[in-house]
């Protein structure tokens, strides 16, 4: 070792290296989760698109105008609107996996899918469960702001469609004006717990990375001590000749 280098300097340098490696491990772990969740949603979005087309073809394939049979607007909605909702987030998941924009676009798209499926099933209350399932899937990101994006999108969509076309969202033509607030309240109820869960998961990931750094630091300490002992033993043996 260079005599001008103080032990405290080498300890500081080693600590910096250990901390940098811990941060790199944490970032890699987080990126891995974000990217795999992006991929999961890409598959889910395409699956929902196929399912929506199947649903439209099964439930209401044709409309009648007098004696003229036409393809029902629901089929076109499933194909075209569903395609529009799906293609951007899937492209982002393929081209920019792990990026902040990608997961927020996916969150919005997933909520628009809930809205479209609710519409295609005539506002069935059971289809509203898709919203809750989607929020739970979004929690896989362990990034709570994504849940806020989803909440704002679905609450805004319910509010607007509740005014413009209430039957398509609630299944009845004249719901109370505050019905969207009731739905939004249940969404907020689950989102509060999912946000807490995301924050805890994030903290656990951080603690795991820090625990790894501490163990690495201990190992570094043992290596340094053993090296000193080895050097002393070697010098002693050399003196004995």
């Amino acid at each position: 070792m260079n005599a001008s280098v103080k032990p405290i300097d080498t300890i500081t340098a080693a600590a910096d290296a250990v901390v940098s490696r811990a941060e790199a491990r944490f970032d890699a772990h987080r990126q891995d989760i974000l990217r795999s969740t992006d991929r999961m949603f890409a598959a889910l979005l395409v699956g929902q698109w196929v399912f929506a087309i199947f649903l439209a073809l099964t439930v209401s394939p044709y409309a009648w105008q007098g004696k003229v049979k036409t393809v029902h607007v629901h089929v076109w909605a499933a194909i075209l609107l569903g395609g529009a909702i799906t293609c951007v987030p899937v492209a982002l998941a393929m081209l920019r996996p792990g990026a902040l924009l990608t997961r927020h676009v996916i969150a919005a798209a997933q909520m628009f899918w809930s809205a479209l499926l609710i519409h295609l099933t005539g506002g069935r209350i059971e289809t509203h469960f898709h919203v809750f399932g989607s929020l739970a899937f979004l929690a896989f990101y362990r990034d709570w702001p994504v849940l806020l994006t989803g909440t704002v999108v679905i609450a805004g969509e319910h509010f607007m469609r509740g005014i413009l076309w209430p039957e398509s969202v609630y299944g009845i033509p004249n719901p109370e004006w505050w019905r969207f607030l009731e739905h939004a309240a249940w969404v907020v109820f689950i989102v509060v717990f999912l946000v807490l869960s995301c924050r805890r998961s994030y903290r656990d990931m951080r603690v795991m990375a820090e625990r790894g750094a501490e163990l690495e630091a201990l190992s570094e300490n043992q290596w340094r001590n053993s090296s000193v002992v080895d050097r002393a033993a070697a010098e002693s043996a050399a003196r004995r000749g």
């Binding site: 600590a15 250990v18 625990r211 501490e214 630091a217 300490n221 043992q222």
Partner: protein, 70 residues
């Protein structure tokens, strides 16, 4: 899965509840476990690499390698 030996060792070595650290000038400072764990990671790692953190459960000294397992 923990082996019986690991369980026995885990039972023998209690979790630390306080830490005594020495800074570069040799000044000693006593911290609770919570205070130690809230130190910035760089500071904790520096103590561990330098061997300047001593771990205790009550009055019993705990080796750093055992303390970090609990």
């Amino acid at each position: 899965m923990e082996t019986q030996g690991q369980q026995t060792r885990a039972m023998r070595v209690p979790a630390y509840d306080r830490v005594v650290v020495r800074d570069g000038e040799g000044k000693r400072r006593q911290l609770s476990r919570n205070e130690f764990e809230r130190l910035p990671l760089r500071e904790r790692v520096t103590y561990l690499i330098g061997g300047t953190a001593e771990f205790f459960a009550g009055t019993e000294h705990i080796p750093a390698s055992e303390a970090m397992k609990g």
